[in-house]
């Protein structure tokens, strides 16, 4: 059992740190800090995307032949941890974390040659089309149809909870090409250009006032046959790959720990009812310490998974555990943070972005101003990407054998 950094690891960490010191501007950091949503706005996200692209790091987790860096799990974790500590924006996960790896694995050489460079450069911005109004956790019950006519698929139906679809120029869709006994069969994976008459994007505002997700309606929308990934009916297999990728090899803990530390610092400057400051409040301190212990344990759970991967033992359903632990923990951190801000934590401006010059003035500081919206958005973390209930079903079945 050891966890020593090698000389190479330490050198790599220096490289990451000096890169961040050079390139991560105050504007970008402020953009992150004052964004209550799950994802940063494209103006911040894409600027950082470009910088990472220039550095050659944007697609570091991809296979080397498609632009990946081939780093060890430890190096990947070091990068994620340093990025977390520096509060760097997270590049759009739909493009880099979902469709990119799918195309590397299942795409034709033509699809790979066409799309992967445009993802890396930021020229294409992708939305995800899997959930439908009546298929949430039960993804396989999806009903959006695609019919192949004259070398084109004609799409009808709708997708919901599509992140940043209002900014996207491409969307990947799980569609039904065949109605069959087994609902997982007959699902196909298509890439669809957004800029066409048959597609309409309707915003869904969250209770935080954020517009991050949408419903996307397809009314005889089209896409060419060449934009099909895999074969007809192979969609479910690809979807499973994609969703495991969404959960796999996580690196949640470093951001959690940074967030907890920031909470501790904030408490130094927040008055308590007795005239002291909140960092002297025994109950607050104990709650914070318990959250920190949970985050420290999660960090080692993630490192154990990375070590397993490095030793050739695939992660498997244990990634459901990190998702579960992380999502509960993050909600508890957001709760404590919001409670810390007291009355100021009850403000909820609906204007966006909050880092704009004409944004509403914060009451009690910028961190207080985003706190409630972050808390509200954070309620989604136990729902999206497989709800807590679904994760528990997976663990019960696949790990405990129940």
């Amino acid at each position: 059992m050891d966890m020593n950094y090698s000389e190479a690891d330490l050198a790599f960490r220096e490289e990451v740190r000096s890169f961040l010191k050079d390139k991560l501007t105050d504007r970008l950091k402020t953009g992150v800090e004052r964004t209550p949503g799950v994802f940063v706005e494209p103006d911040i996200g894409l600027e950082w995307h470009q910088i990472l692209h220039e550095q050659g790091w944007i697609s570091h987790r991809w296979p080397v032949e498609f632009g990946g860096k081939g780093w060890t799990p430890m190096q990947t974790y070091i990068l994620e941890k340093e990025f977390a500590i520096a509060n760097a924006p997270r590049p759009a996960p739909i493009s880099l974390g979902l469709i990119g790896p799918v195309l590397c694995r299942y795409g034709t050489p033509e699809q790979q040659a066409k799309f992967l460079p445009r993802i890396r450069s930021g020229e294409d911005f992708w939305a995800q089309g899997y959930s439908e109004p009546s298929s949430g956790s039960d993804l396989a019950s999806l009903s959006m149809s695609a019919e192949l006519i004259d070398g084109k698929y004609i799409l009808n139906g709708s997708k919901i909870w599509t992140t940043h679809a209002q900014h996207a120029n491409w969307i990947f869709c799980l569609v039904r090409t065949q109605v069959s006994e087994k609902k997982q069969a007959g699902i196909t994976f298509l890439l669809v250009p957004m800029d066409q008459a048959g597609i309409e994007v309707t915003p869904i505002v969250s209770m935080s006032g954020d517009h991050e997700v949408n419903q996307v309606f397809f009314d005889n929308a089209q896409t060419r046959l060449e934009n099909r990934v895999g074969e007809e009916g192979q969609g479910w297999e690809i979807a499973k790959f994609l969703l495991q990728n969404e959960r796999g090899g996580s690196c949640f803990a470093p951001r959690m720990l940074v967030s907890i530390d920031s909470l501790e610092k904030a408490a130094n400057n927040i008055a308590n009812s007795d005239g002291s400051t909140m960092n002297n409040d025994g109950d607050f301190k104990r709650r914070l310490a318990k959250l920190k212990l949970r985050a420290l344990a999660l960090e080692f759970t993630e490192l154990r998974i990375q070590a397993d991967i490095a030793n050739g033992r695939p992660a498997g359903p244990i990634t459901s555990l990190t998702k579960l632990v992380y999502s509960n923990l993050s909600q508890d951190v957001q709760t404590l943070r919001n409670e810390l801000y007291g009355y100021d934590g009850l403000q909820l401006p609906y204007d966006r972005p909050l880092y704009a010059d004409d944004a509403p003035q914060a009451v009690g500081g910028a961190a207080a101003q985003v706190s409630l919206a972050s808390f509200l958005n954070g309620r989604a973390s136990t729902i999206y990407g497989g709800s807590n209930e679904v994760q528990k079903n997976i663990i019960a079945k696949r790990i405990l054998g129940l």
């Binding site: 039960d138 505002v205 969250s206 008055a271 005239g275 007291g342 100021d344 009850l346 729902i383």
Partner: protein, 364 residues
């Protein structure tokens, strides 16, 4: 021993029910997007229905309702997720002016022609009720007082004709009832989680008549605060009932994997936990309403303990209601989120669950 509502209380409940039931999420959004985030015609209607008069004593032109009567109204408002600030801009200021017997202004509040808001929260005092930063000093004449300082979280501040400002005059507590357009008064509006507009109020050499100081002690103020906390508890109970009802209906209808999600045992047991909390909250409210007022301080501490308990339960139910609604629960399109956001305000008004519990420790 009887926990049933009286006929009068049932009447108030159904009045509130009729008054609030038609404001659905869309209507709510429309009202919230107006200049003051509220339709003052509703306020007039609320006054006409007697829901403001009930708060004041009969010899002051009120209906002299009991705390149980008022609690019935608050619960009714909660159970329809009403957006009307009856609690913070009706019951609370009227109760204060009634206690101080400030009849000149009270009349206009009872008939709904004027609206008042309480400015008590200070930037560096967290939930401490005693004013430390808003200072009252002698004015130019003997008959005036000068106020200086800042208040935050003035609920309904954007609507208010009068502000009731707590201040310290050399360590002596006072509440000053001043027009919201007083000279030297500046406000910054901001949106609270229920969509209402609160204000930050800055007073800079604001000179007001000495008579604007209410005849009310700090102890009496704390008693009104405690009464308001009972109403917060009642409204949270109503909201929690609404959340549970909506969620039980939703899980019965929502199908996944070919069955209603309400057939999953984990969801059933989770909702039983919510139901259990709800019934315990209801019992706690009833206990509080029937509690003898031995001493005001002990009674207040018990009330705050009850609010702490009810606030924890309400937040628990709200978070589960969101969870069981899935992604829909996160949107602004269903009632769930709005109810949760109102609970956040109520549970933190005059102290959060932790702070209220600390107050309760004195008598526990």
């Amino acid at each position: 021993m009887n926990f049933d509502l009286s006929e009068t209380q049932k009447l108030f409940h159904s009045t509130v029910e009729r008054f609030t039931r038609d404001v659905d999420v869309a209507a709510r959004e429309k009202i919230r997007s107006t200049e003051h985030a509220y339709d003052t015609n509703r306020w007039s209607e609320l006054a006409e229905l007697g829901l403001l008069a009930i708060v004041a004593n009969e010899d002051q032109g009120g209906l002299g309702g009991s705390l149980i009567d008022m609690s019935t109204i608050a619960e009714g408002l909660g159970s329809n997720n009403a957006l009307d600030p009856w609690l913070e801009n009706g019951a609370l200021p009227i109760r204060l002016l009634s206690k101080a017997n400030k009849t000149d202004i009270l009349d206009s509040l009872i008939d709904g022609t004027k609206i008042a808001a309480l400015a008590f929260a200070e930037p560096n005092s967290r939930y401490n009720l005693f004013p430390n930063e808003m200072l009252a000093t002698a004015g130019h004449g003997a008959e005036t007082v000068v106020l200086n300082g800042e208040k935050r979280f003035v609920m309904g501040g954007a609507l208010a004709d009068y502000l009731l400002v707590t201040a310290s005059d050399n360590g002596v507590f006072g509440i000053y009832c001043i027009p919201s357009d007083s000279q030297g008064l500046e406000t910054h509006r901001y949106q609270l989680s229920d969509g209402s507009l609160a204000t930050v109020v800055s007073l800079n050499q604001t000179e007001v008549p000495a008579s604007s100081k209410l005849a009310i002690t700090f102890e009496q103020f704390k008693e009104v605060v405690a009464e308001t906390c009972v109403l917060c508890s009642a409204e949270m109970l109503g909201l929690s009932q609404l959340l549970l009802n909506d969620t039980v209906s939703y899980v019965k209808e929502r199908e996944q994997f070919g069955v209603s999600i309400g057939s999953f045992q984990s969801i059933q047991h989770g909702l039983v936990d919510c139901f259990s909390e709800l019934e315990q909250m209801r019992s706690m409210l009833y206990r509080t309403l029937l509690l003898e007022k031995d001493t005001t301080a002990d009674w207040s501490a018990n009330v705050l303990g009850a609010k702490s308990f009810i606030a924890d339960g309400a937040n628990f139910i709200a978070r589960n209601a969101v969870q069981y609604h899935g992604a829909m629960g996160i949107t602004d399109e269903v009632t769930i989120g709005h109810a949760m956001k109102r609970i956040l305000i109520l549970s933190r008004m005059f102290g959060d669950a932790q702070d209220n519990l600390n107050n309760y420790l004195e008598v526990a």
